[in-house]
């Protein structure tokens, strides 16, 4: 499909609301910070939100559909991020013009993005219908994001099955909204439970973090910050692992407990 060496990564989950768009935004910023030319494509036409999470909602003039229709050049449709100009956003399109979008259209637009990028991240719509199929058709590899909840894991499993059928690989897993204390008391599926059930390599582990909501309120992804919050650090680590760096994954539910460890943790929190 493309002659370039750009990595074209689908970010999908099956279930809605598990953190696809948040991951796409944070990963995009993180990769750009690491010096990669990154394009993020919002493939969720009906309910696009990636622009909002990146704080770019007021700067969109054209969409991918305008590019395909010849209304504008790709450069005009791409929205560059202010602080991280290596990152640009391409919204897929206007919900009212959806009819003509096909897997071929998607492949074409992704090929255009791949020519000028090191990474193309495709924010997949929820579900496993046409929107998913279009986005998957244009992708080479995938990140499946899920939370440790039965419905999210079940939907992720369906999506993984479909990705396997399409020959997309590697498919890696990001486990989102982890609550270590619930895992310790065994009131939440453990990290092993989820990785064993889905049989995917774990690319990242993101703890539940209130700062995610704060950052979406502001339209400033966590990975923009100099010293990011726990979730921000986790997204940054995902970006590093994607690039092949070895960053060990720490399961927060297995961190040392007991008095000394607790004091250490508290000291660390207060000092920095």
């Amino acid at each position: 499909m493309t002659s370039t060496s750009a990595r074209i990564i689908l970010i999908c989950s099956g279930k809605g609301g598990v953190g696809k768009t948040t991951l796409t935004a944070n990963l995009g910023i993180a990769l750009a910070r690491l010096g990669e030319r990154t394009a993020v494509l919002d493939a969720d036409f009906g309910l696009r939100n990636l622009d909002l999470l990146l704080g770019l909602e007021n700067r969109i003039v054209y969409t991918a559909q305008d590019v395909l229709a010849g209304n504008c050049r790709l450069e005009q449709a791409l929205v560059k991020h202010k602080q991280q100009p290596s990152l640009s956003l391409l919204p897929a399109g206007n919900p009212r013009m959806l009819d003509w979008l096909t897997p071929e259209d998607m492949k074409q637009i992704v090929a255009l993005l791949a020519e000028r990028s090191d990474y193309v991240l495709i924010d997949c719509p929820a579900g496993i219908e046409d929107g998913f199929r279009n986005a998957a058709a244009a992708s080479h590899e995938a990140i499946v994001i899920t939370t440790p909840e039965v419905s999210a894991v079940r939907d992720a499993d369906r999506v993984i099955g479909l990705l396997n059928v399409q020959g997309i690989k590697p498919v890696q897993l990001v486990l989102n909204r982890v609550r270590p204390e619930m895992m310790v008391s065994q009131e939440m599926l453990s990290v092993e439970d989820v990785t064993e059930i889905l049989a995917l390599p774990l690319l990242g582990l993101v703890v539940e973090d209130e700062q995610v909501i704060v950052s979406t309120n502001r339209g400033e992804p966590l990975t923009l910050a100099g010293s990011p919050s726990p979730a921000g650090q986790a997204y940054l680590n995902v970006a590093q692992r994607l690039r092949g760096e070895t960053v060990p994954i720490v399961d927060p539910s297995k961190e040392p407990r007991g008095l000394r460890a607790t004091i250490k943790r508290i000291l660390k929190k207060r000092l920095f």
């Binding site: 039965v150 079940r154 895992m183 065994q186 009131e187 439970d193 059930i197 049989a199």
Partner: protein, 153 residues
């Protein structure tokens, strides 16, 4: 966790929900992945039991035919505790009797496509047969056997 929940947990009255979640997920994923609906699975289970009963007397209460999943590979697992082998000479008649036992078997499974279709060799599960509980009830109660699916899977 409220105090009353905590006390219940301490007293072992309620098991942690993560176990329940894992078990329910494994069961539902096994079905999702194989695209077998419960009805088809039940029919297959009944036909398998009929064939096995031709050759050996099995403990229907301790038995279990279910789908299990590991590493994205789904397997049909049959755990059929053997009471004793049937004498070779009388095999045919006994089998006929066994098949005729449950009322609905004749109509639904017996005359369907191919109940006699060759079935690949089962992995021996003799070791697990010991744990089978009260096997005194010889009746072919399909409903009860089906219940044990959910409990064991």
């Amino acid at each position: 966790m409220s105090l009353i929940d905590f006390i219940n947990r301490l007293l072992g009255r309620q098991s942690p929900s993560a176990n329940t979640a894992r078990q329910r997920l494994q069961l539902v994923l096994a079905h999702d992945r194989s695209d077998l609906n419960p009805e088809l699975l039940e029919q297959m289970r009944r036909e398998i039991l009929e064939v096995v009963q031709k050759y050996v007397e099995i403990d229907l209460d301790g038995g279990d035919v279910s789908l299990e999943t590991e590493d994205r590979v789904t397997a049909l697992v049959a755990n059929l505790p053997i009471k004793r082998a049937r004498p070779l000479q009388t095999t045919q008649e006994d089998a006929a009797a066994a098949v005729a036992g449950p009322g609905d078997d004749d109509g639904s499974a017996g005359s369907d496509e191919a109940p006699q279709a060759p079935i690949p060799a089962w992995p021996a599960t003799a070791g697990e047969a010991e744990e089978s509980a009260g096997g005194s009830d010889q009746g072919h109660n399909d409903g009860e056997v089906h219940n044990s699916d959910a409990a064991e899977a």
